[in-house]
Symmetry: C2
Subunit: 341 residues, 2 copies
DNA sequence: GGTTGTTCGGAAATCGATTGCATGATAGGC
DNA sequence: GCCTATCATGCAATCGATTTCCGAACAACC
């Protein structure tokens, strides 16, 4: 059944009302070409446009200009609080430049992601932001092949073949480890994220590097199957059953909270018996008990940077590949203390 | 500068490759009209389409069919964890029906919201989901005027003139109050949300109704200026300075957490001195200290229901206005206890 | 064999805006 | 007074797919 949606007036109708040709109306209404039309006529067309409540049809315009002014965004899970701020950061600069966001919940399955990316391409998006990227992602390959501007955010590939905005995961985990060693900890364990994600891998590398530099044992690592409390609980259980640690550096706040639960189960107190450091500084982790010491990334800034990069790419200014790195900062709270405290 | 984006093949090229007219190719590729074309020809066209990697141009198709298969979503703040799950719930049914989401961060300013809605209309969205709605919203009026399908979610207007999906806020606050009275509380205060939002108003009404029914004083109310911890802290300070309460029913989890801070400042313990009940059951409120007793709404289900309603509206099946109410459930944790406990 | 009916596929108009090119008018120069 | 330069505007093609209308081909029937 066709919906009885009444459409607004077309450019033709505005032109008729103003007594000019539609091409003239088009030029008058487009800031870039308005100088071609005399002021009086422009005023008349403007008036007619206002009077009729004309709104230019973005689809029709896009068909002709081959520009949809749409940007596709692939996120693994919109409901995950990490991505909200990134989206928020992306939105304002893009909106200001006349772009709208086509946000897609892409999950973690590479095949599904590829399909959804195809959908976006069929919609003729002018660019794509990927927050889902695996360490070597087929979606990136297909975008690169057709020359579609693309920017990665939050996660990066193993080889740098696109512009991207990431947090310095290695350095961030270094902050975490050095804080613990400064407190006097020697037996420090790591709960790692999924190794197919750059954050999982890089934070683990950051842990190993920092521990080695400190001359400590860097092998007490337990890998979680995902970024969730359940996975963190499980990984922490494994870690605690195998090693005697006085501190845990987790790859993610949720993993750290899972570790809280594992400690509680074993009757261990945090931070008196075991210190815990998270990663991300999610909302509310300052209110948990004990308030979580963590590493803050700046997701809004990352979104904004990614938007700026993408706009450059779309306009063809920034041809070169650029990697922008946002520095994480250390946020001390009460989940860490000297050992045997 | 024009971007050198190489487009995929057009339908014409597929038709040429298959040796048929482009109209034939169009019919063969469209499931609804494929029966008009003989199986052999269809197969040939399919093959050519595959070989060339043809993807139909959604913009061009939309121009002709007057259907963009785009749904606009206005949310006040994507970064707010409440909206993630709603978006997530919206997405799957709509995606399954071939729709993509145009999500817009609309803030709380009605003028800006109206502008953004205009943008969406110019993009010829097939429907709009409003999560921003004020109690009497101009955006609703303009959508209604042009006959654009619209569904409200989470917040509703004061008069029911559109389909909407809401949580039963009055009943939910009733759960909160009855839990407290059952524990023996008599001096119960309320931290209300902004009265221009339906959630703020209705939860307050729910509080007043339930208190009156219980024969208790329903006037110990402090109104917060927004849904944030800061606003909750402020409102709780006011409440505590004016009244002697043994329990607080807050209109929102963040307000409840603000109340935690206010209690701490005054040296009052929760729940021993003052019980606190939140609303929403946001992620992580089970990990704060004490774990927050709250009312769970089901935002994913609300999103899904809203999507179903909108699809009905778009297809013209559901002409009637429908209000769907999702029942909130009570979630007991450790922030409530009998008075003088 | 002529007529009717059916099926399949082509021709062309259409959606609404943009833009290269053409045309008409006006001004200016000799 | 004629020729050219300049400027404002109109004309028409175009983007890529959909869909209404038609014609051709073929079968069946009397």
């Amino acid at each position: 059944m066709p919906l009885p949606l009444q459409r607004g007036p077309s450019l033709q109708q505005v032109a008729d009302a103003a007594g000019v040709h539609r091409s003239t109306a088009s030029r008058a209404l487009n800031p870039a070409t308005a100088h071609l039309i005399s002021p009086e006529i422009t005023a008349r067309i403007r008036a007619a446009s206002q009077a009729l409540g004309y709104r230019r049809d973005a689809m029709a315009a896009g068909l002709r200009t081959r520009r949809s002014h749409l940007v596709g965004v692939l996120v693994p899970d919109i409901a995950n609080p990490v991505f909200g701020p990134i989206l928020s950061g992306l939105e304002s600069p893009l909106k200001a430049a006349g772009y709208s966001l086509l946000i897609v919940n892409a999950g973690n399955d590479a095949t599904r992601q590829a399909e959804l990316a195809e959908d976006l391409i069929a919609r003729r998006v002018d660019g794509i932001v990927l927050a889902t990227v695996q360490r070597d992602d087929p979606v990136v390959t297909s975008c690169l092949r057709i020359g579609l501007p693309i920017v990665l955010v939050n996660r990066a590939e193993s080889t740098a073949r696109t512009s991207s905005v990431v947090s310095d995961d290695v350095a961030g985990m270094g902050l975490s480890v050095r804080h613990l060693t400064a407190l006097g900890h020697c037996a420090i364990g790591h709960i790692a994220g999924p190794p197919q994600l750059s954050t999982g891998l890089l934070r683990r590398q950051g842990f190993e590097t920092a521990m080695t530099e400190a001359g400590l044992d860097a092998t007490m690592i337990s890998v979680a199957t995902g970024y969730s409390r359940e996975a963190g609980l499980e990984a922490a259980e494994t870690l605690l059953s195998r090693h005697l640690v006085t501190a845990i550096a987790a790859a993610n706040d949720l993993l750290a909270l899972g570790a809280y639960q594992a400690l509680a189960r074993r009757g261990l107190r945090c931070p008196q018996d075991v210190s815990v450091v998270g990663y991300n500084d999610m909302p509310l982790v300052d209110m948990v008990q004990p308030p979580l010491t963590t590493i803050r990334i700046n997701p809004v800034a990352m979104g904004q940077d990614a938007a700026a990069l993408l706009l450059g790419l779309i306009d063809g200014n920034t041809k070169a590949m650029t990697t922008r790195i946002v520095n994480p900062v250390f946020v001390p709270r009460q989940s860490t203390a000297p050992p045997n405290g």
